[in-house]
Each structure stands twice: as structure tokens, then as C-alpha cells.
């Protein structure tokens, strides 16, 4: 069973009196444990697609199943619960909570979303910080660490609740080249360690080569995919 299955997926935004199609009836499937990139120029629909896969937005037509759940059937609360249980997010701007320490940022999903017991929660956070190499920075605030370190923390936060799927929208856009590669390597190693599916978007041609499966989007349509993925 595919982890993500899209059939004739379309998304149209209404801007004033005009309908603007962002995704134009695409089909694709993503298998569990894969390391997938959606690539394409700005405005090609990558973020829109990721938002729908991440249950942040609903399709205008077609179906999108994530973990065998039709996301169109989820209301606001159910979407939040689904995201909290099954999906991790890594953002372009890291989006760590500035008033929390590194440890607390990683702990946040377990504490405020999933209500894990304290001891189990702390153990899991320590494990994740070890895994991303940030254990020694646990007590620092986000403004006391570098961009690369912030993104490591963001990866740890995305993985801490053992999600099936991690979505990363342009995760390397605000990082220098070396750091970007290290973050992608980290994401890959996390995939290997935790068997989590990673889907990320990028428009950087050097970065897209790191993906094992690549879907190319142009003007809301899938134009190409390489290896592992099943582009119908």
C-alpha cells in the first residue's frame, strides 16, 4: 500500500473573481520509507502540493490519500490530530519557537500535541537530539545557535513523535551549500534509522540530486519523475 496516493488531484485558488489553478489533475504515489523531492521553479505548485499532503489544505477535486485516509474528509480538528499523530514538518525558516530552548522545542509535539508521559518524553527528546547531533546544545535558545543547527533541531522536532511522514518545504533554502548538504544527509540518515518517509520540495538543482525519487512540477502539472516513484 502506498503511503501517499494522489488521483486526478487538483487545487484551484480563487483570487478575486478569477480561478487560479495551482495543481492541475495529477496522479502519483509515494511508497513508505522513500526519500522524495518535488522540484520545480517558483510558482510550479510544490508548496501547494506539500500543503495538501500535509493535511494543511484540501484538494479542489480528485482524491489524495495519506496513510489510506482521504484527507478531504478531515475537518479542522481531525486534520490537526492527523498531522500531530502521523506527519512531521520541517520549514524553510526553521520556525523554532523562540521562547523555548532547543530541548523544549523538540519536546513540544510530545508535550503540547501528544501528551506523552514526562519520563518517556524526555528520553525520546534526548534520543532525537543525540541523533541530530544537538544534544550538547539542548539548553540553548534558538537565537543562540546557527541556521544549520536550527534546521537540525527542526528535523529532530519533526521526527520526535515517530511520524510516518516528514514534509520539508524548501528545507535548505536558507542554508549555505555545505550546511544544506549536511541537513539532507541528516534527513537521509534519519530515514534510514527510523524508516520515516521524507518528502521535500526544492528548486535548487544541486539539492534535488540528493533525492531518491524526484517529481518535477511545472505549472501545476507533473512533467517528469525519476527512479523509485510511480508517476502515472
Amino acid at each position: 500500500m502506498s503511503l501517499v496516493q494522489a488521483t486526478q488531484l487538483a487545487k484551484t485558488y480563487r483570487v478575486g473573481d478569477i480561478d487560479v489553478p495551482a495543481i492541475k489533475g495529477i496522479d502519483f504515489a509515494i511508497e513508505p520509507g522513500s526519500f522524495v523531492a518535488f522540484v520545480g521553479p517558483s510558482g510550479s505548485g510544490k508548496s501547494t502540493l506539500l500543503n495538501m499532503v500535509g493535511c494543511l489544505d484540501h484538494p479542489s477535486s480528485g482524491t489524495l490519500k495519506v496513510l489510506d485516509t482521504d484527507i478531504a474528509t478531515l475537518d479542522r480538528r481531525a486534520s490537526a490530530r492527523f498531522r500531530g499523530e502521523h506527519i512531521g514538518f520541517v520549514f524553510q525558516d526553521f520556525n523554532l519557537i523562540p521562547v523555548l530552548t532547543v530541548f523544549e522545542n523538540v519536546e513540544y509535539p510530545l508535550r503540547m500535541v501528544q501528551n506523552w508521559p514526562a519520563e518517556k518524553r524526555r528520553e525520546q527528546v534526548r534520543r532525537m537530539l543525540e541523533a541530530v547531533g544537538m544534544a550538547d546544545q539542548a539548553g540553548k535558545r534558538p537565537d543562540q545557535i546557527s541556521g544549520g543547527q536550527k534546521q537540525r533541531v527542526a528535523v529532530a522536532r519533526a521526527l520526535v513523535s515517530n511520524p510516518k511522514l516528514v514534509l520539508a518545504d524548501e528545507p535548505t533554502a536558507n542554508l549555505d551549500h555545505d550546511t544544506a548538504y549536511r541537513i539532507l544527509e541528516l534527513m537521509k540518515s534519519m530515514r534510514d534509522e527510523f524508516r520515516t518517509t521524507f518528502i521535500f520540495s526544492t528548486h535548487d538543482p544541486k539539492i534535488m540530486g540528493e533525492a531518491e525519487v524526484t517529481f518535477t512540477l511545472e505549472d501545476g502539472r507533473l512533467t517528469n519523475n525519476t527512479s523509485g516513484g510511480s508517476h502515472v
Binding site: N51, R76, R77, A80, G84, F89, N95, M112, V113, R157
Partner: protein
């Protein structure tokens, strides 16, 4: 819940100056309100105390229609002995009543054998009067304060009259009065004391013994004009008024209409309007406090939501339930309210204590140098504290609701 409060407190500390300014507004508002309640309440209770404890008593019972003609002190609306007995029976049975004093009131002419003027005479039982209006004897400016206020053959006259008629303690005077049948009678009295007016220079009330009053008016039976009542607990005024009204309601005339009325001091004194004015001002200042807290907290919370849109988008995206986002922002408003309330209450109590130690004085009517001793009831502090907390939460509700309903995509895109 602890997590929510922890994060909320850190967010408040994040904008220290703004949070501090908001807290300052809440604290100033609370101090102003609690001080006003304490000082105005102290003034009001002192004023009411002067009126009830030296003139009126807490409640009065009259024959129906008497109060409407009270300026004329009508003798034909006195209570008959049977009515008085029934009233006294009702008063004895009411455990909230501390004492009562029957009075015979009439208008008469006062003469020092050289000049004559009008006087309002109160015939009293000195022991019962002292128990019912305990501050009365304290108003004596001349004459012995100890002992009964008046004995038989004695009169206590108001200071205004004493000055105008050049009358001193120990002088012999004559009081002439017309009884209900129209016959005129006079009786000599020795001036026992001179009484300062409680409320202003216009007091013309003199006091004689009730037996002398009946003799002067040639009353065939022991009639009473009014019965002044003192309660054990002034705060039960309304309750006792209702109880007595019910107990005395059974006394009716031939047409089946009640013959007696129960009045509170407020029904009988124009100073009740002043007391009501103080209550109105207290209400007004509470409204000002509510407005201050509402505007201050709402302003800071709207800013907090506006400045943290991306953060809200992030926590919403990673699955934080909308109810928890709502509680995060409500907790911030609540904490501003809690800290402001605690600090405001502490400062207010300190200020009240300071005034009590300072002991400023003021004048009320003819009463000079009354010491202001502001007090505040725990209930008032609690009411204001709860009011501030509720308003702080209400003020946070709209911004918190907005945050919890925010679309994560739009919020994450916000610059």
C-alpha cells in the same frame, strides 16, 4: 495546564516593557478602585453612623401617613397603646433587633421668659434612647455627658436655640404646646444640656422626658409618635425591614388596610441621596477599571497575536489542537490579570494601612475632626479581583479565538 502557563509566562516576559506597562495600568486601576471603595466606604459608613446612631436609629415604625406629614409633627397620627404593644411584641420576637426607643414628638414654643421661638420636642425614655442612638449623648457640648440624657423636668436644647435665646445650662425655660384637642398647655423645664447638631446648623430638636411630653400634651393614654429601632447588624437592614413589615402588616384598620409603616433611615434622611451618590461613584469607578483592564489587555493580546502569526502557523501545522492554541493566549491574558490583581491588591492594602496610620481628619456637618479610617471588606477585594480576572480573560478571548482559528498556511506565509 502547567505547560500552557509556562509558555504563556515566557511569552509575556518576551515583551517585558509592554507586559510591564499593561500590568502597571491594571495595578493603578485596582489601587484607585480599592482605595476609593475604602475611603468612600469609610466616609459613607461614618456619615450613615452619625445619622443613625445620633438621630434616627436604623429603622423607625410610624402610623401610616405620619411620615408624609412629619414636618408638622401631627399628634392625630400617633400610635395607640395597643398598636405600640403589638409593635413591641414583634420587636421582642425579632432576634436581629438590639433595642428600640419610643418617642413622642411635637412642635411647641420655647420661652426664656424674655423671648419666644419654635422648637421640635422629642419626648424620650433616656435609657432606651441611649441604647438606640448611642451617639446622641456625645453631641452634648454643654452639660454633664454622664448619666441620663434628660430627667423629669429637664430639657436638652439645640445649640442654635441656646445661642439665639442666650440660654445656658441650668436656666429655667418654658415649653408651650397645643395638644390634639387644641388646648394649650405649658410646663417649665431646667436646661440640662446643649446639643450640637449632627448634620448642620439648622437642627431645632430638643429632648425632654417622655412622661413630661405626655403631661404637657395632656395625653389620656400612652401614645407614641414613632419607635426608633437599632439592629445588632446594620447590614441586615433590608432583611429586618421586610420581616417587621410582614409582622406588622397584620395590624389593619376597619377597611382592612395596614395601619403601620416601617421605614429605614434612608427613607427618612436626605443624606441617603449622598450615600446613593457614593454608591453610584463607586459603580462608575468600577466601570472605569473594567474599561482600563479591557483596553489594556485586549491591546496587548491583539499585538501578541499579530506579532506571532508565523509562530501560530507553526504550532498549528505540527498538530497543536485549536483549543490548546486558544488556551495559550487566554493564559497570557489571565496571567496579566492574576499578576496585576495580586500586585494591585497588595499595593491597595498597603495604601489603606498607610492612611489608617496617618489618620487624616475631616468634618461632617457640625462634627469636627472625624478621623478617616478606611477599611475594605474581603468581599469587596474579592469582587474587584474576580472582576479584573474575568475582564482580562474576556479581553483575551477575541485575540485568542482569532489565533486558534488561524489558517496554518496563511499564517506560515505571513511576513
Amino acid at each position: 495546564m502547567f505547560d500552557v502557563i509556562g509558555i504563556a509566562s515566557r511569552n509575556l516576559l518576551r515583551y517585558r516593557r509592554r507586559s510591564l506597562l499593561t500590568l502597571l495600568l491594571i495595578v493603578i486601576g485596582m489601587v484607585a478602585v480599592l482605595l476609593f471603595i475604602a475611603v468612600a466606604g469609610s466616609f459613607k459608613s461614618m456619615m450613615v453612623g452619625q445619622i443613625t446612631d445620633s438621630i434616627l436609629g436604623h429603622l423607625q415604625v410610624h402610623r401610616k401617613g405620619y411620615v408624609a406629614s412629619i414636618d408638622n409633627l401631627p399628634l392625630n397620627l400617633n400610635m395607640k397603646p395597643q398598636m405600640v404593644a403589638k409593635v413591641e411584641e414583634a420587636l421582642k420576637q425579632n432576634t436581629a433587633v438590639e433595642s428600640w426607643s419610643p418617642r413622642v414628638k411635637f412642635g411647641g414654643m420655647f420661652s426664656n421668659f424674655a423671648e419666644t421661638t419654635s422648637i421640635r420636642v422629642n419626648g424620650i425614655d433616656p435609657a432606651l434612647e441611649a441604647a438606640t442612638v448611642p451617639l446622641l449623648a456625645g453631641r452634648l457640648t454643654e452639660g454633664e455627658k454622664a448619666g441620663a440624657l434628660v430627667g423629669k423636668g429637664q430639657i436638652v436644647i439645640p445649640a442654635l436655640l441656646a445661642r439665639g435665646m442666650k440660654t445656658k445650662v441650668g436656666d429655667t425655660v418654658v415649653v408651650v404646646a397645643t395638644n390634639r384637642d387644641g388646648s394649650v398647655n405649658g410646663k417649665t423645664f431646667v436646661v440640662r444640656g446643649i446639643l450640637e447638631s449632627a448634620t448642620g446648623p439648622g437642627g431645632r430638636d430638643g429632648y425632654i422626658h417622655i412622661d413630661d411630653a405626655r403631661e404637657l400634651l395632656r395625653m389620656p393614654e400612652a401614645e407614641i409618635s414613632e419607635i426608633a429601632i437599632r439592629l445588632k447588624d446594620f447590614s441586615r437592614l433590608g432583611q429586618v425591614e421586610a420581616q417587621l413589615g410582614q409582622a406588622l402588616g397584620g395590624l389593619s384598620n376597619k377597611e382592612g388596610k395596614p395601619v403601620l409603616d416601617v421605614h429605614t433611615w434612608a427613607d427618612l434622611s436626605p443624606f441617603a441621596s449622598l450615600a446613593r451618590m457614593i454608591d453610584l461613584m463607586t459603580l462608575f469607578i468600577k466601570v472605569v477599571l473594567v474599561s482600563i483592564v479591557l483596553v489594556a489587555v485586549m491591546n496587548v493580546m491583539i499585538m501578541a497575536v499579530f506579532e506571532r502569526i508565523r509562530e501560530i502557523g507553526t504550532i498549528a501545522a505540527i498538530g497543536t489542537p485549536p483549543s490548546r492554541i486558544l488556551s495559550l493566549f487566554l493564559a497570557e491574558g489571565l496571567m496579566l490579570g492574576v499578576v496585576g490583581t495580586v500586585a494591585g491588591t497588595a499595593l491597595s492594602l498597603l495604601a489603606i494601612l498607610g492612611i489608617r496610620l496617618w489618620q487624616p481628619t475631616f468634618n461632617f456637618g457640625q462634627q469636627q475632626n472625624l478621623v478617616m479610617a478606611p477599611t475594605i471588606a474581603g468581599g469587596d477585594v474579592l469582587t474587584i479581583a474576580v472582576l479584573v480576572l474575568v475582564v482580562a480573560v474576556i479581553a483575551s478571548l477575541q485575540p485568542a479565538w482569532k489565533a486558534s482559528r488561524m489558517d496554518p498556511i496563511g499564517a506560515l506565509r505571513h511576513v
